[in-house]
Symmetry: C2
Amino acid sequence: MGFLEKVRNRIAVTGSRLCVGLDPRPGGGVGELRDFLARVIAETLPYAAAFKPNLAYFEAFGSAGLAVLEDTLVRIPAEVPVILDGKRGDIGETQRYYAKACFETWRADAATVNPFLGFDSIEPFLAYPGKAAYLLALTSNPGSADIQRQPCAAGYVFNLVAGFAGRARAAGLPGTVGFVVGLTNASPEVFAAVGDAPLLVPGLGAQGGDLANLAGRPPGIPDLVNVSRGILYAEPEKSFARKAHDYANQIAGRPGGNN
Amino acid sequence: MGFLEKVRNRIAVTGSRLCVGLDPRPGGGVGELRDFLARVIAETLPYAAAFKPNLAYFEAFGSAGLAVLEDTLVRIPAEVPVILDGKRGDIGETQRYYAKACFETWRADAATVNPFLGFDSIEPFLAYPGKAAYLLALTSNPGSADIQRQPCAAGYVFNLVAGFAGRARAAGLPGTVGFVVGLTNASPEVFAAVGDAPLLVPGLGAQGGDLANLAGRPPGIPDLVNVSRGILYAEPEKSFARKAHDYANQIAGRPGGNN
């Protein structure tokens, strides 16, 4: 089964396009980290179209933190897509090892990839049939103005990244190309650039993005909207399940949403 | 002691500007990985101005590979600068955890950083006094043409990255800003952009870069030239020590070099 089919199936089963971002900031050690993530996954699973562990938070604990990642990944049922958020980017020879880590060692379904080193640097992540790479096109932070939103001959630098999807198709690479587009920066101009490639959209919740910015996306594309801190740390009086439920409704435009 | 002082001291002691890149591609498992790196470090130490482990090769083995990284780091004497090559790049809130991994958990002296997410994404790596961040300005691969060498209002996209050094100075950030400039793409145009910031220069050896491309760098800047595969895997009939010795001479323009 291909990546998009897996995402579509999960969206159909849960009625949710919510990607639960696993960005744990524990005060304690790796034991606390492990228990915290086990609770988050168990509680939010019914509302999760996907999970997205961000490698930074595990790496901060060194090899012991990555061991927690490994323990955490096995808690996620096989039918739920896992997007490893590592934003890796290196030259092709080296990037193959990062792709191996994501898709063979950690068996993720998709990964975020930083495209700054050029098309040859993303190829290794697109060499795996059934897997996907979400390329950073336009992130949600203010600093996205510094490079990604700078004008160039293609329009903006993010247009250069968007063009990699066509190159991957032309090269016959088996992996699926998606894009990361921050909700705070989403616009018709960006949607025109990324076309019908699936999006991973961070920026809802703590980062203050507005779902109305997604108007104009083509129907039928299994875009995912990520919430990390909004579920893990905001409104501590609510359960993880409650927050995930409410965000799933908000994203779907159903009543009982979080807004 | 600041990062540049540590590099200058090491260059003075060894007479070498060679950075030994630790990009191990073992056929076997983590035990072989550990032993291989122990031999490389022991043999090349007298000729190494710095060591640069690339995280991809460890990450490919998962948490067990990162444990080998940790074992490897303790083999490197305290006076030898360690540059962790991870090319991490995430939004500021998350990037702090990557910086913590590099500088607190793994106690490296410097790190390579991918600047594509903008100035706010590099700040966490520049928040550590005595440490350095080498920003990817112009890498050595052909794909560097796709984004880094695209024209924009600033000249080329790599000029946008080069401008981050001045912003870091203006912001009073304590860390040292350096740049990665691939030997294959080094030119007076790039040197004008990066000014007197220290360079980490990959691309000698297997990648075929020409040291003549470094002509025109200002004197007194402790630039480092990295060789990875050229020492670890080329010419297997020679020892690691021999190859490191020869590359150190070649970089210094002394007789007995590798060319």
